[in-house]
Amino acid sequence: MSTEPLLKATGLRVSYGSFEVIKGVDLSVRDGAALAVIGPNGAGKSTLFKALTGEIATHGGKVMFRGRDVTQMPAHLRTAEGMGRTFQVSRVFQELTALSNVIVALESRMRCKGERRGSWWRAAPAPSVVGEAEELLAQLGIAHLRDETAAAISHGDRKRLELALALALEPKILMLDEPTAGMAPADRMKIVDLILAIRREKGVAVVMTEHDMDVIFMISDQVLVLNYGEVIASGSVEEVRSSPIVREVYLGKDMYHAAG
Amino acid sequence: MTSQAVFVLFNGLASGMAFFLVAAGLTWVFGILKILNLAHGAFFMLGAYVAYTVGGVWPASIWSFIGVALVAAAAIGALGYLTDQLVLKRLRNVDYHYALIATFGLMLFCEGVAKSIWGTDYFAVMPPPEVDHAINVGGSYISLYTLFVIATGIVTFVALEVIMHWTWAGKIMRAVSNDPWMAGTLGINVTAVLMFSVVASFALAGFAGGVLVPNQALSPHVGASFVLYAFMAVVIGGLGSIRGTFVACILLGLVESANATFMAQYGGIAIFVMLAIFLVWKPNGLFPAQGTT
């Protein structure tokens, strides 16, 4: 078991033009752990996410993943390394069916890992790939949607489909950008259960941005609080919750007077 | 400066101004509608044909020449209105690929219309008598018509700059181009502004056609070559930026002129090399702007 954290960022800086948005952020996530990144709107949570996953370039600092320096690595290679990603507004391949969506992701994984299934002259997806895709859909509770066009399925189910896409790449860490955004409380709980189940069964680490404190309490071990691009607090959930600095930043927002 | 250099300089500036007269409308429409109207050059060509039809081969005087160009402007402006209502309006909110393809088809359509009305023969129109002789500048003979074109281009640029930055009309247009939704909530009649801009830019293309027709052998393909240079200028200068287009046009004009003078057997190729260099070096253009400047 290595003591090296799975994901480690040091001194991360991101600027939009001359305006510095992320001002030297450090974070680290161990294997299988769960980190929540919170902060008021405009704190830079999305930008931090984009920098960690390779969607935008950094202007300083380093990102280490699984012991390798991935700071210069483009997004698709980081994904191949094991970084899964979901978006705040779920992005899936709209006009493909749910099954085809997952098949594309699986075939991409196989390509990245140099696996080969089925005969080379075959155009249609190999039966074992189709099987694995169906299984993945079933694990996420959307097997019945396999032949539905992704654009036509409901918001909540599309989130599940997106998770299926991310999981198809057998990630070591899942970067979830506001996984419960825009969902009714009941659906929210379902997603939480899903994420917990994924953590349990696949041992993936999770980094997520969230606004809902209940969700955070239920899922994460560690919390990172951002404000104006800087880390103002980090530690366990309890530590952060009782931190006076955090209270000051969030003072007056009912949402953060969570139960317990 | 050697006389050849003088020739290249003036010729280049005239070419550049000619490109600018066509490109200005193109970049303006892009800034406002966010559509690259591939058919813009076709309207320029139709303007040239209208001028030829109305004014004939021998313009009586420079004033009748300009007058004919204004008639062409009006005709093409009206045509632009029609095109906007029938085609361009419906392309505003669709994927830009559709808009590109549709305007490409439109350009071809206009080329066909010109061919059927006027045939494929080449026509020539003479410059008006006042400018139809050359003067000696720095050892080289420069046609007064060349100077006329340069002057027209500069005047047009200055006029556009003044309108855009010094008048309330320009402010409104820039507001609409930057954020149409916001402009709408401020009470600006966005539809009217868009329509006016489209018609004005087409009129400018028509005017360019009328003014530039003595410069070349008139044929349906004339619009095609000009519009290509206009695209290139717009892309190099930065989509939506009139200033960028102006600078890019001058550069392109000078390159083209130098190419024609010093490497005549390989005429017309240097300009593409320049495009390639710019696209690699500065893919967003010299003046990447959001909206018109």
Binding site: - | L38, L100, G105, K115
Partner: protein, 337 residues
């Protein structure tokens, strides 16, 4: 027209074509093989050109309908293939004809690679459009500089090839014989393209088209696959041009003008760019229309340009898209595999 997504169905046939497709294909094959006996040479020529235009349109649509990139200068690749083949036949390059075709295709692919590596990494749709138009114009100029390629008069005066396989020869000099070769070659190329589109590679292309960022985040190297798609597209377009040279027996700069570049766009849009077979349907439809309105100056451009505009405004998914919608309205089903 409201905001529409460029819609593609993944690796599927619509419900109609799944049933009718085999029948239509067999009927088409029978017709193609019997054509020399059924049609006069003029009509046979048109059938041959339609086959060539179909391949050309398919090559364009691989890029547009299946990878999301619009090329407005595809005639450039076609011309490269056509001129190379014409030159090879005219100036006796002493190569087997199949080698000539292969080289033409590879030339197209290599040039596409060069353009793709430089351009596709940074250019959005508009820039790519302008670049492809400009490059085709540049190519036309370059061809104009080379006297051996005939300049304005075009390159002609060459015979159709005789293919020597050692044990036997295939004399394609007569048009009926070359026609049969053309049919077989076309079927092979179309089959290969079908395979590409329905293979994992094709599925990656479609993912890129649907959502390039999402594709990145499932591990697809978007830039690389765009270039690959461009290469296949360019190579195939060059092959179409190469096959056309012995058929028309003259290659002119008309093959590099804007009308020529618009043709595959029109065929794909008219037939329906969301389906693999759309470009072929479009090529056939347009040939038919063209035949009935044999041109006088300007009519071709008016028709091609006009139909293209109308299709975009009224029925962007083309003939096949319309029939699909009608079918679903009538049958009331939904869902595609």
């Amino acid at each position: 027209m409201t905001q529409t997504n460029i819609a593609v169905a993944a690796g599927s046939h619509s419900n109609i074509s799944a049933k009718l497709l085999p029948l239509i294909l067999i009927a088409a094959l029978i017709f193609l093989f019997l054509a020399p006996h059924l049609l006069n040479p003029g009509l046979l020529f048109i059938v041959g050109m339609t086959l060539i235009q179909s391949i050309f349109a398919l090559s364009w649509n691989l890029l547009f309908g299946f990878t999301g990139l619009a090329s407005f200068g595809h005639a450039g690749f076609y011309a490269i293939g056509a001129y190379f083949t014409a030159a090879a036949l005219r100036y006796d390059f002493n190569l087997p004809f199949l080698a000539v075709l292969a080289i033409a295709g590879i030339l197209g692919a290599m040039i596409a690679l060069a353009i793709g590596v430089v351009a596709l990494k940074r250019l959005t749709g508009i820039f790519l459009a302008v670049l492809t138009v400009a490059l085709t114009e540049a190519l036309a100029k370059i061809i104009g500089f080379i006297p051996a390629l005939g300049e304005q008069d075009g390159l002609g005066n060459f015979a159709r090839p005789v293919m020597n396989f050692g044990l036997f020869t295939l004399d394609l000099t007569h048009s009926n014989d070359y026609y049969r070769f053309l049919v077989i070659a076309s079927l092979l190329i179309i089959g290969a393209l079908w395979w590409v589109v329905h293979s994992p590679l094709g599925r990656s292309f479609r993912a890129i088209r649907e959502d390039a960022d999402r594709a990145r985040f499932v591990g697809i190297d978007v830039a690389r696959y765009r270039v690959i798609s461009f290469m296949i597209s360019g190579g195939t377009a060059a092959l179409a041009g190469a096959l056309s040279a012995p058929w028309t027996r003259i290659v002119t700069l008309d093959q590099v003008n804007w009308l020529a570049s618009t043709q595959p766009i029109l065929n794909s849009l008219l037939g329906g760019f969301t389906s693999f077979w759309g470009p072929i349907v479009g090529a056939i439809s347009f040939s038919t229309i063209n035949y009935w309105t044999r041109s006088f100056p300007g009519l071709s451009e008016i028709m091609v340009g006009g139909i293209l505009v109308v299709v975009i405004l009224v029925a962007p998914t083309g003939i096949l898209g319309l029939t699909e919608k009608l079918y679903q309205r009538v049958v009331g089903k939904r869902g595609r595999a």
